[in-house]
Structure formats: structure tokens, C-alpha cells
């Protein structure tokens, strides 16, 4: 290691460029996503949805502190335990206190947990932890970093997936994609059914209703959040919006911008499972989780309010900008601070790790600003990344 972050970034990018197989995977995935994205062209319903969500987020950021307090109050009223974690360490400690050690933990995909390094932390406490989203699972067993907010493993071609499954799961089936997905499904179902704790994320949190909304297509998040007796939701405070209707709008928009279609599942969780069917006496659990914990992570977000980075907090993590980026779709996960990649990743890195950590990454932004043309929230991604390159936010 040279110790020079610029050279490390360059070396990683060049290593990626030399990996023909990985680049082929990225190009296949990019082409497929571009086709999905074209489904949105001229879709007045989605355009209107985007306009509404921009307004929702603008209002929410204006009163974020009070909305977070309101969300906490409403969730607690619904029976959830809530922690507002100021720092990364606070968040890790909060989840660690809930989970303890020696547990089997399953997780659905969550960028905030990547930001925290939660999986590694929980493993360090002596827990067995499994990602249940297929892409995240492949990253976990390969040791790779995500290359996109949603399609996290888009840089892994099927050939590499087959090699991975053979090596890590002792898979001996055929190399077609459905067979491989089937094998992972069996492996993960077994873990989900036996798990002590299920950790999920959120697309939005409704302050007024005290509800967490999450979209997904695989069905793993629904199982992860309901089958294990303890459900821990980990998400950023930027996800808090006023109402459940607002939260649905955010979740739907994210789904449309990722795949051009509505989500297969929209999960709404407002508290632990319970029933009052016998004499109206509340008994927990019924069929779902007995406990629900919500960890709302700040980690630099509230400090971004009132700064040029405030508009980044409106990001719904659809990754539309990332798929349009000529640089990210060329160098893949090389251009990343771990959880956050591409131009928007530069900005999220600045918020969660400081401008000093973001600046070397900003050197890789071409400032073509095409990302801004694809962002449903109108975030000036390229412009702000350029400002970080020129020293913005550094003391």
C-alpha cells in the first residue's frame, strides 16, 4: 500500500479495468438497466410522483429535527424501541446491545448498514451473520464491495457467481442463473428460519404514523423482518418524512427509478407482531417478530443541513445517476468509499465520513454532470462533487 489515497484509487481502477470478466458483467447489467430505465421516458405518472417526492423531501428536510422526534414518539407508541444514534459508533453500539453475541443474524439489503460496517461489527461480537438479498449475499461470500446502491453485485458475471457458489457453498448444480438462484434460496431460507435476529433497512419512515416502509422484489426483507423473533430496523434520519402516504410515494419512486416498474413487495412495519383476538388482550408475538427496534442513524446527516450538501439528503438511493455515469460504469466498485460509490457516493462520503475522505474520490468525477439529468430529486451531483474536488467543506 502506498498510503496515497489517489494512487490507491487509481490502482484499484486499473485493476478493475484489467478484469475482463467483471467488466463484461457490468456492461451486461448496465445495458439491461438502461432498457428498464427507458420504460420511464414520458411516463407522466412517474414524473408527477417525482415532483411530489421532491416536495415531500424538501418539506421534511426543513423540519427534520422535529420529524425525527415525532417518528420516535410514534414508533414507541406503536411498541417499537427507538434509538437515535448520533455517530457511527453510537449506532453500532446500539445494535450490538440489542443483538448481543452468539446469535444467528440475518440481514436484508441496507446501505446504511454498509456505511456502518454493521455486518463485520456483529461478527466481531461473535455472531453468525448472513445477508439475505442475493446480490448482497454474493458480495458477502466474495468479499467484494457493492458497485451500485440497489444492484449491488452488477459487476459479478454469472461465470463468477458459479465459481463462488462452487467454492463457498459446495454447489454442484448447473451454471444457469435460475439454478444458481434456487440454490442460494435454499441456503438462505434455512438461515432465515433459524435466525434469532433479522436486520432490515428502510426506504422511508413515516413520522406521524410511526411506520417503516421498505420496497423489495426478492421477498427476503419481508421474511427477514418477520420470521426471526427480533427485528432491528437500521436507517438514516434522512429517511424520515411526515406521513405514511409520503413514505409510500418515496418508496414507489425509488422502485420505478431502479427498474422501471412497481415493486413486487412494499413492506410496512409499524411495530412488533401481536394479536388481541382473545378477549382483546394484547399478546406478542402472533406470527411476526416479537420485538421491533429502530435505530435512526445521524452520522453527519444533521450537520449537512444548512450546507450545500443539504440537497443530498433528499437522495432516495435509486442509483439512477450511477447507471448513467460513464466513469462508475467503467471502473465499477473501484470508485467507492465502501458503501457509497460514484459521484453521489462522493457526496454521501463527505456527509458520513467528512470532506477529507471524499476529496480523493472527487478526483475521479469527470464533472460531465449527466448524473443530474437522471436524478429524480434534481440533486446537483456533479456540481457538488466538483466543489469537493476544489476543497469545499474542508477546514
Amino acid at each position: 500500500m502506498s498510503g496515497d489515497p489517489f494512487l490507491e484509487l487509481k490502482r484499484e481502477a486499473y485493476r478493475w479495468l484489467s478484469d475482463e470478466r467483471a467488466r463484461a458483467g457490468m456492461e451486461r447489467a448496465s445495458a439491461s438497466f438502461e432498457a428498464s430505465r427507458r420504460l420511464l421516458e414520458g411516463n407522466a405518472y412517474v414524473e408527477e410522483l417525482a415532483r411530489e417526492v421532491r416536495e415531500v423531501k424538501r418539506r421534511a428536510l426543513r423540519e427534520l429535527e422535529s420529524l425525527v422526534a415525532r417518528a420516535r414518539e410514534s414508533l414507541e407508541r406503536n411498541g417499537a424501541h427507538v434509538v437515535v444514534a448520533r455517530t457511527r459508533d453510537d449506532a453500532l453500539r446500539a445494535v450490538g446491545d440489542i443483538v448481543g453475541s452468539g446469535k444467528l443474524v440475518v440481514k436484508s439489503k441496507s446501505i446504511v448498514t454498509e456505511e456502518l460496517g454493521l455486518r463485520e461489527y456483529l461478527r466481531g461480537l461473535g455472531n453468525e451473520v448472513w445477508e439475505t438479498d442475493l446480490g448482497e449475499f454474493l458480495l458477502q461470500i466474495s468479499g467484494n464491495r457493492p458497485s451500485h446502491f440497489v444492484a449491488v453485485s452488477m459487476h459479478l458475471p454469472r461465470e463468477e457467481v458459479l465459481d463462488l457458489l462452487r467454492e463457498k457453498l459446495n454447489y454442484r448444480g448447473p451454471g444457469d442463473v435460475p439454478s444458481m438462484v434456487g440454490a442460494v434460496r435454499e441456503f438462505l431460507r434455512d438461515r432465515i428460519m433459524r435466525a434469532d435476529v433479522g436486520i432490515t433497512g428502510a426506504n422511508a419512515v413515516a413520522a406521524e404514523d410511526g411506520a417503516v416502509v421498505q420496497v423489495e422484489n426478492e421477498g427476503n426483507a419481508r421474511l427477514t423482518g418477520t420470521v426471526p423473533p427480533v427485528n432491528v430496523v437500521v436507517t438514516g434520519i434522512d429517511k424520515v418524512v411526515p406521513t405514511l402516504v409520503d413514505a409510500f410515494r418515496v418508496a414507489l419512486l425509488e422502485s420505478y427509478y431502479v427498474g422501471g416498474t412497481p415493486p413486487t413487495y412494499v413492506n410496512v412495519t409499524s411495530g412488533p407482531s401481536g394479536t388481541r383476538d382473545v378477549e382483546h388482550v394484547l399478546v406478542r408475538p402472533a406470527q411476526g417478530a416479537k420485538e421491533m427496534h429502530v435505530v435512526l442513524v445521524d452520522n453527519g446527516r444533521s450537520a449537512a443541513l444548512g450546507t450545500p450538501l443539504e440537497e443530498v439528503l433528499a437522495c432516495i438511493r435509486c442509483g439512477s445517476c450511477q447507471l448513467a455515469c460513464p466513469v462508475l460504469t467503467t471502473v465499477g466498485p473501484a470508485w467507492s468509499s465502501g458503501a457509497y460509490m460514484g459521484g453521489i457516493g462522493v457526496l454521501w462520503t463527505a456527509i458520513t465520513m467528512g470532506a477529507g475522505a471524499a476529496r480523493p474520490l472527487a478526483d475521479m468525477c469527470a464533472e460531465c454532470r449527466v448524473c443530474e439529468e437522471y436524478c429524480p430529486m434534481g440533486i446537483r451531483v456533479g456540481l457538488l462533487a466538483g466543489e469537493i474536488k476544489r476543497g469545499a467543506g474542508q477546514t
Binding site: L7, K10, A13, Y14, A366, R369, V370, G391
Partner: protein, 308 residues
Amino acid sequence: MLDKRSVVGFILDNLRRTGDPLAATGEELSSWAAGVPRPPSEYLIYTGHLYQLVPRMRASIGALRAIDSSPGSGLVLRLGRLAAGALSIAPDGGLSSRVSAMLRNAHDLLRASGIEASYAGPSEPYSGILLHDLGLVDPFREQARRVLDFLEASRARVVVTLDPHTTYALRELYPKYVGSPPEVRHILELVDPSAVTRRAGVGAEDLKVHDSCLLAKALGLHGRLREVLSSAGYRVHEPARSGTRTFCCGGPLSSLFPRVAAEISRRRMEQLSALPGIAVSACPVCLANLGALGEVMDWLEVVEAGRR
């Protein structure tokens, strides 16, 4: 593999020594302008050196890529400033002639549109845009001040720019960093489409346009470019990514990440290859990068003054 300090050092050192980031000579910068009047005049052509630098950009892209690919580049890195010396690059003569013809054509197109413009010659300072793009705020501000003084001293009412990077620097960045220059107009805003025709010797009637990111996104001139090309008699074909959703040529990364830039250029050329005709851009940075991989012409090479 070159570190950022070596690349930045090379550029700043050239600028200090020669007034140009790639050490272009006064002859290279101004030889195109034989017969073009000198200031003062109402309209002043300000090239910002960018078109003239295409041959040196092309050569430096190759040199930087070779250094980054060389197993011995660690030695180059350790030698620090010598690395910059090793990048002294010889421009391609053929490309230099092409660029000179483009610049002369720019002057002729303005004249055909009723604008008599002057050009200052070798005393014209560099715009500093590369310094800005590399994140070098103080050197950029210093260079911008130099340019602002030069433009004010010229007494021109309108500064005519020829490329999107220089236009963006003067129009958007200078006011933010040092102050506003006189009125800045990109040549596409001044050329009369009805005074333009297909250039003799261009073999094709079909053009596929590669939009420069800045021309489309920051200046909004992609529509005007098509208007001029269509008016000249060309059929214009659009790649899937065009206009404000264009796909970068890779140029902005060519000094710090030359191999990444080359791969982005390759991907763009592949997208363009699906369409008929000649690939055309309106940006010297795009021309230097994409043109290294195949036939790409500048709009100033495919049109000329004359009524259809």
C-alpha cells in the same frame, strides 16, 4: 503509475515557464491567424489555447497512458519532476494543420455572418480551465485574473469563444472567482446557419453527433449545433445518449486517470459506431480523445461559409 502531484507539477511548471499548460509555443498557438486582424475591434476571438492544444493533448494522452501502463513507472514517480520532463511531447504535424484550418474557418464563418473579429496572437493567455478541473483553485484564480486583465485591455465589446470549456470558464467560472469579463458569446451563437454550407471534400452527407457534456449541459448549445449542421445540408444521426444525456468522451480524466479515460472513449466510440456517417463533435477535448480511436471530425471541419 503517476501520482497526482507529478501530473499537477508538470502542468503548473509548463504554465509558469511558457504560459501554456502543455508548453505550446507562440508559433503553435498563433500561426493559424495569418491575415486575421489584431485588436482592437468590437469582437475579439479568444481561443483560450484549447483548439491549438489538440495535437499536444493527443500526444500527452498517449504518453501518460504509457507511463501508467509501464511496469517501470514507479521509477518515474520516484524521480518526481523528471516525470514531468519525460512528458515533453511532440505534437502531430498533421493534426496541427487540421486545427489551423479549423480556426481559420471559424474566423471565416464569423465574417460570413457579418462579424469582423480580431485575434491577439501569441500574447493571448491560457484560460486556466484545466487548473479548475484539477481542483487547483488558487492557480486557476491567478490565471483567470490574467485573462480578465487581457480581455479588459483589448477593449473588445464581445469576446467570441470557440470551444465549450473556454466559454464555460469565462461565462460561469470567472464571475464566481475573479469577476465578469466583457460579453462572452460562443461562436455557435453568432454564426448564421443560412450562411453555412457543407465543406468541400467532406465525403459523407450523414453525420453522427457526439455532444460535448459542457456544450449540451452547461451551455445548452446542442440544438444550435444541429441547426447549423442541418442547415449546411447534412443528415444528422443521434446516438442513444445525446443532448444533455450525452456520454462523456473520457477527456476530463485523461490527465489523472488516462487508462480509465481511454476505456470511456472506447465505449463512446462503440456507441457511435452503430450509426452511419462521420462522427462529429464541437469540442477540442472530445476531438483529442475520441479522435485517438477512430475517425472523428470537428464541426469546424465539416462546414464552411457559403449559401446553399
